[in-house]
Subunit: 583 residues, 2 copies
């Protein structure tokens, strides 16, 4: 146990730890861990990644001289301690300042943060650019990329390693191997990492050496002394080197060490028992997806659910994965592989359903286009967290899936507005074998159908939910509730609007749209970036008609940590603002 | 030399070679090579990849039993011999049938073609899906993915290998190592491949083994006997295995063996001298880009040109690359790395310019969004072959870059209409340090400015090229010539149109658009897929005004081997059709 305590509030920059003894650094580690756990448990956040990388962060800042030396953190969800050591400790000591910092690195927050990062597997590419720029400038700073084992399965991480190995100058990759991705790792590479751990880094097969890196193994990656030694040995290295450190995810918090998957990221929880503080169990679409897929898979061995490293985000707990058996496939964080493989599986007679966060599907744009759409292979994609109520970090927005997917020919894109429509669309998509289908899981509060929903979506058009005249509101997906509220307000004002559920986003129902050409006003509502969305397509189709078209949707922007209600209000996405357009 | 000749026209399917002796197969190889060279030289096509993989194709079809066994070819530009052996030989023997087949695999053409493939690095993912489907079905066919060394640098190839290594069942990857990408390879992996070749496959470091594959090396990859032995030894393998074959790109055609880069793909040429048959040297934008970049780089060591494995496509011949020295960077076929690194270089104070085919930039959508746009790092991207006059294979269309890029916040997207505007935009983009910029290189005939062009594009809006009234034509990029022809026709009809060059595609010039609200008609012309393009954005902006808006552009479709003039006519993109909208 540490002997003397440190006044954490006095740590203003890494300079404040440079003169510490090893014993003091160990004390510092212990003392940082307490407020760190306190904040994460009461506030929510990434648990395991930060606790496991605490000692390494201290050692990095002790050995390297940021911000002259550059530290680039993959995903950057493990940078809470980095923030504590770089002038932002108050955001971890004072509950009223908890929200002063974001959960990721952010150049707007600190000169110690090189990039705003949230998706995986980017750190090596970004850092290789800093190294290349340094070499062209004739600089001599150290460039350090920190990447977790889970992120190594992403294609950009490989492309980065492959190229960076040829730099011929200083380039340090710290592989933080905690033997876990968000969930357990998948891929042949992970057998190699295990072999390297088991042989103390001496195994004949070595992924990093095969790409041309020098290689160092640190068996005790939570031991500050070992880490300092290792980092000192590569500081000012004149060639690319990998420092492979073996860390314990969730280190120092027993519940997080025990259940690494649950405590990768957690909403507020009791740090002793691990129980969630707000275990609200509303009905939700994610559970419904997983339950429905389990039912379908049990009755047909050709049906599979695929994830790219985020089983929890699509409702597949370890128990559900076990129930699904070999029909549940986790390819690791490798969306390109997930999409390409899904196309091959569909071609091979299976019915693959890739469940994926909207923000991550964009990592496989080319595969959606080339591997799937050009081939017309009937794979099914179900997106989650799309729209205003999805994740609200600037790096994880679900605003852009609709413009992206509707721009690709040959993909049928469906937007259910309620639970019954959702499962009906899912069933139809699985059962048909004609076309690739994307289904956008609603993200707001669950609603239920007040009318029968179709079972066949093969030639589906728009549904007229309320028949009126003169004014039409076309409300897609999640925004059907908003559309209903707006049309209700209009009725109160004596207007008799038509309310339309477009159901399909990838093409226009021109028959229905033709009936609107004689209307006075058409208003489109969509829970995604307006630019490239369906409103603009409808406006263009109706462009040569006298009808006035108003398109409402989310901004083409990267708002960070926004409040959904405020964002919607700023876009005139309130019943009142919508209704006023009809006057 | 072969002793007896074979009637090639009688080869209807692989069954026709199954009973041949080794000597007959060698005769077959020699006899296939002659018409193959004749067709490629007179017709144009992929030279080196097909000549180098001729013997391997024979051996694959001799050993495996397609179409029951599945052969998936990466890029599929090396499948001319595969087509010759699978019922399509007439398309290689009779000049009048040369165009009966495309240059890539195509399921519409033959049951022996599993997928339509044109982009690199996808074969392993696609084939892994076929393998997974086979396993779920309980099948026992062989699944074979063929991939060139150059394609291994792409992220999807890594993701595919990493996952496929864990299949635990039959999965065969044939690595066709001809020691070349399109141009020389770049990446640490290629040192490992060299080491493997130099040690007859026994080197301690082995990329494939590190990922968990069994591994076989074939030193003479153009020797049918060696290949048959190797393929027989892995046929019905019960685990994933890599067969690494060392081939000679361009084998059997001296000019192609000598100059592998020039003869990767070639327009029609004299097979003896290698000289192009139609050496038309019009002024073109690609040469202008390379020449201009060389001039800029010579005067500023911070300026760099980046390619992802396609230096020739952006005008950088070996001589120009040599002149650029370390300021020219080829990352290999690794667009994600190119974009991520460009962001890092811009952050590090350099001025990176990534030149890339429009169809390949979509391989880095997530990197454009996350690594570049969210960070606002002022990297420059210059796209080529965008629009109707770009590449016309369904897998290489340049229709979709505009919807894709205009959907991403924070990227300034410029569309020059002539040479002077092009170089001025390039100069400005390089000199500024405020924002990421994409410049869309025109693809049609070079035109020159008949008016001065601005030097500052930081707050650029639309340019009114011809001031008229009532009717406005907004003609973007390449389509300015078309817009001019259309307005000329209108004038002949007594209409006085306004002609506008939007210059910027990523946002609207609402000041100019506001002046059009009182017009009768606005017509937008864009050389890209209409869906998600600028016309729909303009139509939406003007949607609440009485002005009629007509949007014209390319279809949201994957037309294959289309004729530009016919495609444009089918989209009403002729001066006459456009002018008729103004009546």
């Amino acid at each position: 146990m540490p002997k003397s305590s440190i006044d954490l509030s006095q740590i203003k920059s890494p300079a404040d730890i440079k003169s510490m003894t090893l014993e003091q650094l160990e004390t510092l580690a212990a003392e940082l861990r307490t407020p760190l756990i306190r904040k994460i448990a009461s506030h929510g956040g990434h648990v395991g990644p930060n606790l496991g990388f605490l000692e390494a962060t201290i050692a990095l800042h002790f050995v390297f001289d940021a911000p002259a030396d550059k530290l680039v953190f993959d995903v950057s969800h493990q940078t809470y301690v980095h923030k504590m050591l770089t002038g932002r400790i108050n955001a971890f000591l004072s509950p009223e300042h908890y929200d002063d910092v974001t959960g990721y690195t952010n150049p707007g927050e600190s000169i110690y943060d090189e990039f705003s990062i949230g998706h995986t597997s980017t750190s090596i590419s970004l850092a290789s650019g800093l190294a290349k720029a340094r070499d062209l400038r004739g600089g001599n700073e150290n460039i350090v990329a920190v990447i977790g084992d889970g992120s190594l399965s992403g294609g950009e991480a490989f492309e980065g390693l492959d190229y960076a190995a040829t730099l011929g100058t200083n380039f340090i990759v710290v592989v933080n191997d905690n033997q876990m991705s968000i969930a357990p790792n998948h891929g042949g590479l992970y057998d190699n990492l295990r072999e390297l751990r088991e042989t103390n880094g001496t195994a004949r097969c070595n992924y990093f050496r095969s790409l041309g890196f020098k290689y160092i193994y640190v068996p005790y990656g939570n031991d500050i002394h070992s880490l300092i030694q290792a980092f000192n040995s590569v500081k000012n290295s004149t060639e690319p080197v990998v420092v492979h450190i073996n860390t314990t995810k969730g280190m120092g918090l027993p519940v997080a060490e025990r259940d690494k998957e649950t405590f990768h990221f957690s909403a507020p929880f009791d740090p002793t028992t691990g129980e969630p503080l707000n275990p609200a169990k509303h009905e939700n679409y994610i559970d419904a997806f997983a339950t429905h897929m389990l039912k379908r898979m049990a009755n047909d061995p050709r049906i599979c659910t695929i994830t790219a490293g985020t089983p929890g985000a699509i409702g597949f707990s370890p128990q559900r994965r076990q129930a699904a058996g070999k029909q549940f496939i986790d390819v690791g964080i490798a969306e390109e592989q997930a999409v390409g493989m899904a196309s091959g599986m569909a071609k091979g007679g299976c019915r693959p359903v890739f469940g994926v966060c909207a923000t991550f599907l964009q990592r496989a744009y080319d595969q959606l286009s080339q591997d799937v759409a050009i081939n017309g292979n009937p794979a099914v994609f179900v997106t989650f967290y799309g729209g205003a109520w999805g994740m609200n970090d600037e790096t994880h927005l679900g605003f852009f899936d609709v413009p992206m997917i509707t721009g690709i020919p040959g993909i049928l894109f469906l937007a259910p507005t309620n639970m019954e429509e959702y499962t009906a669309m899912l069933d139809w998509a699985i059962d048909q074998t004609e076309t690739p289908v994307v289904i956008r899981t609603p993200c707001g509060k669950v609603t239920h159908a007040d009318r029968p929903v179709p079972t066949d979506y093969s030639n589906i058009g728009y549904e007229t939910v309320e028949q009126g005249s003169d004014v039409a509101v076309i409300a897609a997906g999640d925004f059907m509730s908003l559309g209903k509220s707006a049309t209700l307000l209009m009725r109160e004002k004596g207007i008799n609007p038509t309310l339309i559920n477009p159901r399909v986003l990838s093409h226009l129902d021109t028959t229905t749209l033709d009936t609107l050409k004689t209307y006075k006003t058409v208003i489109t509502l969509e829970d995604n970036s307006l630019d490239g969305g369906i409103g603009q397509k409808i406006a263009a189709y109706l462009g040569a008609s006298p009808v006035m078209v108003h398109c409402l949707g989310l901004p083409k922007a990267f708002p960070n940590r926004y409040t959904p209600s405020a964002l919607l209000a700023s876009c005139n996405l309130t019943p009142e603002a919508i209704a006023s357009l009809a006057c």
